[in-house]
Symmetry: C2
Subunit: 204 residues, 2 copies
């Protein structure tokens, strides 16, 4: 998982992937939600220091490149939950994992706003957030000892959590909102998780 754990090839791949994604997002932000069509593939590739053809080896659409950071973030959610102590109640563990993952650095507001308020990016942004569901569901199933093939609880809960994160992001971006993202996230998650306030051993 660490950069050190991969060979040179993998690290180079990862680096160019991130370079392209970063360049794509930066250019998109520069043009704003309405000028997305002006962000040409050629520009992204040039800004990332690769050929347009190479850009296309990593991403098959601009939207995918621009939303790559969010997708990567989502992929880490399962891992974050697994790293919580096993005796922690599910609700508490999920909240803690999500908060930690999504507020380690406070998210980049411009980037989030870009991918969440640009119609042409909506589908890809949803994909990015939804990528959290699979790993999350597995982690929840592992923690609760349920069979994901029969019981819908893990998958539904994962979807609900992903949805809550999304709603929290949207709300946090609204103008005139001064809350920290952590607070918004907590409020949103408390709507779908049987989580007790700080005190109380409420399992499930």
């Amino acid at each position: 998982m660490n950069d050190e754990a991969m060979d040179l090839r993998a690290r180079n791949s990862q680096a160019t992937r991130e370079a392209i994604g970063h360049a794509a997002l930066r250019l998109a932000i520069e043009q704003g939600p309405n000028g997305l069509a002006l962000v040409r593939v050629h520009d992204i590739a040039t800004a990332a220091g690769v050929s347009p053809r190479t850009y296309n080896n990593y991403f098959s659409s601009r939207a995918e490149a621009i939303c790559a950071f969010q997708a990567d973030q989502s992929r880490r959610v399962g891992q974050a939950l697994r790293s919580r102590p096993a005796d922690e109640p599910l609700g508490r563990a999920v909240v803690a994992a999500v908060i930690e993952l999504y507020t380690d650095p406070e998210p980049d507001k411009a980037g989030l706003r870009m991918i969440m308020s640009t119609p042409e990016l909506e589908g890809e942004a949803l994909r990015a957030f939804t990528m959290a569901e699979g790993p999350l569901a597995e982690a929840i199933a592992a923690r609760t000892g349920t069979d994901p093939g029969r019981d819908l609880f893990p998958a539904v809960t994962a979807a609900a959590v992903a949805g809550a994160i999304r709603v929290a992001g949207r709300h946090w971006l609204e103008p005139g909102n001064t809350e920290s993202f952590a607070t918004t996230l907590r409020r949103a998650l408390s709507c779908v998780l049987p989580v007790a306030p700080p005190e109380g051993p409420l399992g499930r």
Copy 2:
């Protein structure tokens, strides 16, 4: 809302829109999830009896056309909830509304499978399901008397419900599953809603 309530123009528009969407979905199903690239715009337009340029006036991508039926379905969810008796508890009302809307005719398995198991359609399919959230959130807010601007509950619950519907669909499509969609839906929704079982005034 009824066909009769619109003038000729609107009804023609609606008709061609549905014709294009229907043709797109049908052709996509014929080619299967792996042959989506073989479904050309020209074919869709021809099958729907319009020019390729007209197809493009209604939809700006094949994915959008193929998923149109699901998007239309999602737009009705808010209305379905509003038509439930006002004294019904929220959970019961949502479940009843969703069940009624999504099982009036049992959904077309081939269509659902197409849009839910084709990677290139994933983003658009998510968009289609997510379209339920806005109206649903408003209807929930109206029913619970909460202010959607401050309270996250309506939006989060709407997202959770939409997610549950999606998960239910995925599970229902799994091979070897003989459950009715209504049953699967009920099971999924019960994971995110404080709803009593179908029979008996049994709390939780």
